[in-house]
């Protein structure tokens, strides 16, 4: 009888009999070995503005070569990329793009970074790792766009090659992670702290879903956790929910809820709190935490004005953390 395998990539720790796949839909036990089904086979490849990740403190106004395979190890009810994240690879249109081709295409298209994104790159770990190593050798920044539901060992191996991570901190309660995402909060918090300790530049995103995680106490607790564990300089992006996937009956997040969330974040002592999807709101911009001057003026994903010079405020020379060059 062929042996079972236990995946050790994420905390689901799927135990698989011969021919079975993990919850991510893209790892399979064949002949007693665990294989990825999506290595070098992305189903989504785009060139995006880096601000879309969202990353506001990394290479402003630059292009990011962005890719994803099918599959995901979470089951978020609000997922905007559910067509690929909740599909096995045989139901997506995949292309052949080995790591060296990813790097070549990124360079040929004058991208300064490669983003592993859209679904969750944890599930195409080997592909991401090999590509990230080549990308770093070629002077490209690697962006890990993730829900961070990943075991410590693979994360520690990955960290030296990813300069920045855009992490979804979806909520601040175990109940929310279980009911909304079929995952757990604590491993995500641990992974965020690991990346922070390893020197990965972090920007966190919280999607505010009406009636689920929009209470002021939840937002206060989330902001407090960030301040206490990561410090005030980790940017936090509050993102607007749009009816999608399994939550089409809910309304979009009201603009005033996002604006209030930003107020709570700033009151909690966080220096950089942003709101997404509210045109012309001051929450789109970066301000100096010391003198309050406008540093980066944005409309949508476009940068209209940048007053950060050599990583410092142009006006008072305060260090503004990020990867600016």
């Amino acid at each position: 009888m062929l042996p079972i395998v236990e995946c050790r990539l994420c905390h689901h720790r799927c135990r698989l009999n011969e021919g079975e796949r993990g919850q991510c839909r893209v790892r399979i036990n064949l002949d007693g070995k665990l294989y990825s089904l999506v290595y070098g086979k992305p189903c989504s490849v785009h060139i995006d503005p880096i601000e879309k990740k969202p990353l506001y403190h990394v290479l402003p106004a630059s292009a990011s070569f962005s890719l994803a395979t099918a599959g995901c190890n979470l089951r978020c009810k609000f997922c905007q990329n559910w067509q690929i994240s909740q599909s096995p690879p045989e139901e997506t249109e995949n292309i052949d793009l080995p790591p060296e081709s990813v790097v070549r295409e990124a360079l040929n298209n004058r991208c300064r970074s490669i983003a592993y994104t859209y679904s969750d790159p944890v599930i195409f770990y080997e592909y991401m790792l090999d590509t990230a190593k080549l990308a770093k050798q070629n002077g490209l920044i690697n962006i890990f766009r993730t829900a961070a539901f990943i075991e410590e060992a693979p994360l520690l191996e990955l960290c030296p090659f990813i300069q920045t991570a855009s992490v979804d901190l979806k909520g601040i309660t175990e109940e929310y992670y279980e009911k909304m995402c079929s995952a757990r909060l604590e491993p995500v918090l641990q992974a965020i702290k690991i990346m922070h300790r390893q020197g990965v530049w972090l920007e966190l995103t919280n999607l505010i879903v009406p009636t689920w995680n929009d209470k002021e106490k939840d937002i206060q607790d989330l902001c407090r956790w960030i301040k206490d564990n990561l410090g005030p300089d980790v940017p936090l992006h509050f993102s607007r929910f749009w009816p999608m996937h399994q939550l089409k009956s809910l309304p979009p997040t009201p603009e005033k809820t996002l604006a209030r969330a930003r107020e709570i974040g700033l009151a909690a002592g966080l220096h950089y709190v942003y709101v997404g999807n509210i045109p012309e709101h001051e929450g789109n911009n970066t301000y100096c935490p010391k003198d309050g001057k406008l540093l980066i003026h944005r409309i949508g994903y476009s940068t209209l004005e940048n007053n950060i010079i050599d990583g410092k405020c142009k006006f008072c020379v305060t260090n503004i953390p990020g990867l600016w060059a």
Partner: protein, 57 residues
């Protein structure tokens, strides 16, 4: 046709059949995953997993 040619042809057919049989056996394991129109999977052994008696509990 000479006996020698018949033997050679037979041997080559045997080798061809053996090759196809081995390939078909392997392909059979994964062809049901992908339709003929799709690119075949590029199987890559995972980096982080345990097998059989390495698994606790």
């Amino acid at each position: 046709m000479s006996q020698k040619n018949l033997s050679r042809r037979g041997f080559l057919r045997f080798l061809g059949g053996l090759f196809i049989g081995l390939f078909a056996t392997r392909w059979q394991k994964i062809s049901h995953i992908f339709s003929p129109k799709d690119t075949p999977p590029n199987l890559k052994e995972a980096k982080y997993y345990s097998r059989g008696d390495e698994i606790a509990g």
